[in-house]
């Protein structure tokens, strides 16, 4: 009884705590995108080169992707920061992260020696530097978990979504 009581209490408090945990998750993911986009936005040519280093698309396509990506990341970060269309933003985040994970995994599998370019630096590594694919993958999977949380429970406290909806909704399954 004494042992099970706290967990029962936690379970009872979960519906009340979830929107606040959701805020932390949402702001965390927002920070990830804002940092990732902010680090790349100052040098769009370098961003294009980082994409090109994966050698999965023609150079001209890579430069366009490299130029557009930082701005999309910043926009995603802003959407998550204010909590607008959280589920959609979480879905796009998850999709992007899956692409990044696939890209890093394929670079690893093909034996390329590149930096993932996730937070700005990128491209091929100098001789003697070894790529850190495993930490990069684990980090992206962690971010993916954040996006997954928001996909399942998009309704978080202090969000534009919540403000648009007015009073808290009893049934969250939109």
């Amino acid at each position: 009884m004494i042992v099970t009581a706290p967990s029962a209490g936690v379970a009872a408090r979960w519906p009340a705590a979830r929107p606040w945990l959701g805020v932390a998750v949402r702001l965390g993911l927002a920070a990830v995108w804002l940092f990732a986009g902010g680090a790349k936005v100052g040098d769009l040519a370098a961003s294009g080169r980082a994409v090109n280093a994966y050698q999965v698309m023609p150079y001209d396509v890579a430069t366009v992707v490299g130029a557009a990506l930082p701005f999309v990341e910043l926009a995603l970060g802003l959407l998550l920061l204010i909590g607008l269309a959280t589920r959609l933003a979480a879905g796009v985040s998850a999709a992007l992260l899956l692409v990044f994970v696939a890209g890093i995994a394929s670079a690893w599998a093909r034996g390329l020696a590149i930096d993932c370019g996730c937070f700005g630096d990128g491209g091929q590594l100098a001789a003697g530097q070894s790529p850190s694919y495993l930490p990069e993958l684990l980090r992206d999977l962690g971010f993916l978990a954040l996006a997954g949380f928001l996909l399942i429970w998009p309704r978080t406290a202090v969000s534009v979504d919540g403000w648009l909806a007015g009073a808290p909704v009893e049934d969250d399954d939109e």
Partner: protein, 238 residues
């Protein structure tokens, strides 16, 4: 069951349906707005990038035909060097193998095409990679590209700082015997910055993803030591 209760139930069902309908509409509109934000953001990036790149450039005298690098020497084998003046591994490479390459050039065995790329602008607060590469174009104009490039590597600033100032770039030029006034105006006008952009983009297009990259007769050389370079040049010259 009383009809009054039935009415109340029906009214509740209608209210719930209306609420659901409102919710669906709201979700649709916020989603559309969010998608629009993301698409517009991507478009801004593309537009911004397209407006940044310029197609007009003037290569300095001594550049190869396509203007993607500066040539020195006249040997039968071509050594292509892709280097960023801020790249520490490039400075190490110059220190280790620079003399060997100069000797191969002096012996008439090889010519060098030096591509001063600006890959590392992120690693200085003042776009030192672009400024130094453009300055090397000014040195080519003055006929002292190789001397100036070597001096830049010797005075290489650390990554993450402001790099060398334009005044310091001019001082180094004067140190290798370039005209201080001509060089100074060339640097302050940014005469060869569009050329640097062209060199950098051409290198990326050619699949050069890191610096230093050394190609001998078009083939990338993994062993950049003096022995490795000499062996590759002799193999190509045979």
């Amino acid at each position: 069951m009383s009809s009054r209760k039935g009415q109340k139930d029906a009214a509740r069902v209608v209210r719930q349906q209306l609420a659901r309908e409102r919710r669906r509409k709201r979700t649709l509109w916020t989603s559309l707005a969010a998608v629009a934000v993301l698409v517009i953001a991507g478009g801004i990036g593309w537009a911004f990038w397209s407006s940044q790149r310029s197609d007009n450039f003037t290569p300095p005298p001594g550049a190869v035909g396509a203007g993607t690098g500066v040539v020195y020497g006249a040997g039968p084998v071509t050594i292509e060097l892709y280097e960023d003046f801020l790249c520490p591994a490039c400075a190490q490479f110059q220190q280790a193998s620079g003399a060997t390459i100069n000797q191969l050039v002096a012996e008439g065995k090889a010519r060098v095409v030096f591509h001063p790329v600006a890959y590392l602008n992120r690693f200085s607060t003042t776009s030192y990679s672009t400024r130094s590469a453009a300055a090397s174009g000014c040195a080519a104009q003055g006929g002292k590209f190789r001397e100036y490039a070597e001096a830049l590597f010797q005075r290489q600033p650390p990554e993450g700082g402001a790099g060398l100032s334009n005044a310091e770039l001019v001082d180094i030029a004067a140190g290798v015997g370039l005209d201080r006034n001509d060089f100074g105006s060339c640097v302050s006008d940014g005469t060869y910055e569009p050329w640097t952009e062209h060199v950098t983009e051409a290198a990326s297009k050619a699949g050069v993803t890191g610096t230093p990259t050394v190609k001998i007769d078009g083939k990338e050389v993994a062993d950049r030591s003096p022995a490795g370079i000499t062996a590759a040049v002799e193999a190509a010259g045979r």
